[in-house]
């Protein structure tokens, strides 16, 4: 859909004999403890063609926003830099960077070539005095310049943390306008940082809780366009949607894809009772997964597709349960005080994020898949609906403020509970779903 041509996405060696330093001393271990952000220098990328000046500056700023936005890195302002780069190939003067306590240095160049933006960059470990990893070169159409910046930032983040990146990704969510009793909702799509906002539906019907397919090319969501909640499958590329087959007299909602993208698990309400079902994306009869008079909803697959975590009030209050993906007897995993809902399995498989209500407050939290090591990451009047970054390190969620003038927005927090931030530039918003890393 994004007609992007990352022409040379695979690592391209720049200059001979610059071997990758796989395990250099420049490394951040992302742990639960409070860390001192790693100071880095990011001189504005060198404009290598006369028409690339603005692009070089813009790309540099997006890379800095990505890195500093994690809370793991702190940029040393360019005004403090001693060495200046007039060319991408200028040799690094390590003492100049040591003198201002930079630990990492990113040097880059931007050029316009045949209608494409070409970015190349190198990452240097200042204290060991060597390059970290190979230089790389990426190219894309000018309209996709932000993606180039995110790709560069992802590589830098990965090399320093040893984790996968998450900047070149998007979020599908519900855009909200108007007061609480007349709220207008429409489906929207933006980059993870709120840039490139686009609307996928109009606001003629309530829409809820969109979810990306594993490949990021389709979205499942709940719409009231028939007057009743029903699940719709939307092709993100051409914005064409199809209502899933309906059992007459039922409501269907809370859909989510299986990790192979072939099935959909969802809630169906019939006669006041809500249970979990699954169906093939290509159609066919629904298969019932739970059969209880309680509310079963908010299902989410494990990354290997073998299990489903969901919420049920069969014990009397909302709690979290895990069952086989084919149904069968579930195991309860939440036992703390309060109510637990909207569980989402982390892409790494190790944690489950959830919404917790206790003591009149809402929290986003994480726990291991056996329910142990519960940690609450946030607290507010109303936090709900977590979604994982592609690398499983950051959670985005909805925060709504109280009262007549209350509104909803999207926030991110990392899984240690640090770096709580609002996603700016998208207005009122709820029900985020984070895409996989873009191809």
């Amino acid at each position: 859909m994004m007609r992007i041509a990352l022409a040379a996405l695979a690592a391209l060696m720049i200059g001979p004999g610059l071997a990758a330093a796989q395990q250099g001393p420049l490394h951040i271990e992302i742990t639960d403890g409070v860390i001192e952000p790693l100071p880095y220098a990011l001189p504005t990328f060198v404009a290598e063609t006369g028409d690339a000046g603005q692009m070089a500056s813009d790309i540099t700023r997006v890379i800095a926003a990505d890195l500093s936005g994690t809370g793991l890195f702190r940029e040393i302002p360019e005004s403090a830099h001693i060495q200046r780069f007039s060319a991408f190939e200028t040799p690094v003067s390590y003492p100049d960077w040591q003198a201002i306590n930079a630990q990492a240095l990113i040097v880059g160049g931007v050029s316009m070539q045949g209608g494409k933006v070409v970015v190349k960059f190198r990452l240097f470990d200042i204290y060991s005095g060597q390059q970290l990893g190979d230089g790389q070169q990426l190219a894309a159409s000018p309209a996709s310049w932000r993606r180039l910046a995110h790709k560069v930032a992802d590589v830098i983040y990965s090399r320093i943390t040893g984790e996968g990146g998450y900047f070149d990704s998007r979020v599908v969510f519900v855009s909200e306008t108007g007061p609480k009793d007349k709220r207008q909702k429409r489906l929207a799509l933006a980059d993870y940082d709120g840039a490139n906002l686009n609307y996928l539906t109009d606001s003629s019907a309530i829409v809820l809780a969109p979810r990306f397919s594993p490949a990021g090319d389709k979205v499942l969501y709940t719409t009231f366009e028939t007057g009743f909640p029903r699940i719709k499958l939307l092709n993100v590329g051409n914005v064409a949607g199809t209502l899933l087959p309906e059992v007459p007299g039922t409501m269907t909602f809370a859909p989510r894809f299986s990790p192979d993208g072939a099935s959909i698990v969802y809630s169906m309400e019939q006669g006041g009772n809500t249970d979990l079902y699954k169906m093939s994306v290509s159609g066919g009869a629904p298969v019932r997964l739970t059969n209880s008079p309680a509310i079963e909803t908010a299902p989410s697959y494990s990354p290997d597709g073998s299990r489903i975590v969901f919420e049920s009030d069969r014990s009397g209050t909302q709690q979290l349960y895990i069952m086989s993906a084919s149904g069968g007897e579930p195991t309860r995993i939440s036992f703390g005080d309060g109510r637990y809902g909207t569980p989402v399995w982390s892409p790494r498989g190790d944690l489950i994020a959830f919404t917790k209500q206790a003591g009149g407050r809402f929290h986003i939290g994480v726990m291991r898949t056996d329910g142990s090591e519960e940690r609450l990451l946030t607290a507010s009047f109303l936090d709900e609906g977590p979604t994982w970054s592609p690398n499983g390190r950051v959670i985005m969620f909805t925060r709504e403020s109280p009262g007549a003038g209350g509104g909803a927005g999207l926030y991110t927090v990392d899984i240690s509970g640090r770096n709580l931030k609002k996603v700016d530039g998208i207005g009122g918003a709820s029900d985020p779903a984070w895409s996989p890393l873009l191809p």
């Binding site: 309209a143 490139n196 109009d202 003629s204 309530i206 809780a209 309400e269 709900e384 009262g403």
Partner: protein
């Protein structure tokens, strides 16, 4: 973003489709719905003193029953209201009803949808038990999407935890 123009094009089409296909249970077809999800549709409700008028049903009898936190059990007061609703519906068989279930904002979105469905179903079952033909009734849940009152205190929350019987002139019943 090469798809932006396509998106605009499609939104135009969607907009047209919405105009040609108004919500069949919404406020576009003579539904009178002061407590429902879409408010008063602007259609005349008749006089509250005319026992045959929608205004009488909505306001004199009361189109709405309320619930306790997390509950779908009908209170004595709710049963009394629903009993009168059933009597009115039994005497006015040209009307059908959609029963909307609603929840307050103190809950997660999916759970509240399911909870609203429980409430709507509880009201529907009661109406059926009072002789209203099942094929005249249908339920829908709005979860916490359409609060009636917007403050964030129990006073408003109680109003929002409701099942609303939205009557409309039905064809062929």
């Amino acid at each position: 973003m090469t798809f932006a123009p396509k998106a605009l094009l499609l939104l135009t089409v969607l907009g047209l489709a919405a105009c040609n296909n108004p919500d069949k249970y919404g406020a576009g077809n003579g539904v009178v719905d002061p407590g429902g999800a879409y408010g008063d549709g602007g259609v005349s409700q008749g006089s509250i003193n005319d026992p045959n008028s929608p205004a009488y049903f909505n306001q004199k009898i009361g189109d709405m029953v309320n619930f306790m936190v997390d509950q779908s059990t009908l209170s004595d007061e709710a049963r009394a209201t629903l009993t009168q609703q059933a009597q009115w519906l039994n005497g006015h068989t040209n009307y059908n009803a959609i029963i909307e279930g609603h929840a307050d904002e103190q809950g997660t979105r999916e759970y509240n949808l399911a909870l609203g469905a429980r409430r709507a179903n509880a009201a529907q079952e009661f109406l059926i038990s009072q002789g209203v033909a099942p094929n005249r009734l249908r339920t829908v849940s709005y979860g916490k999407e359409r609060p009636l009152a917007v403050c964030s205190t129990e006073e408003c929350y109680y109003k929002n935890r409701r099942a609303v019987t939205v009557i409309s002139l039905g064809a062929g019943s």
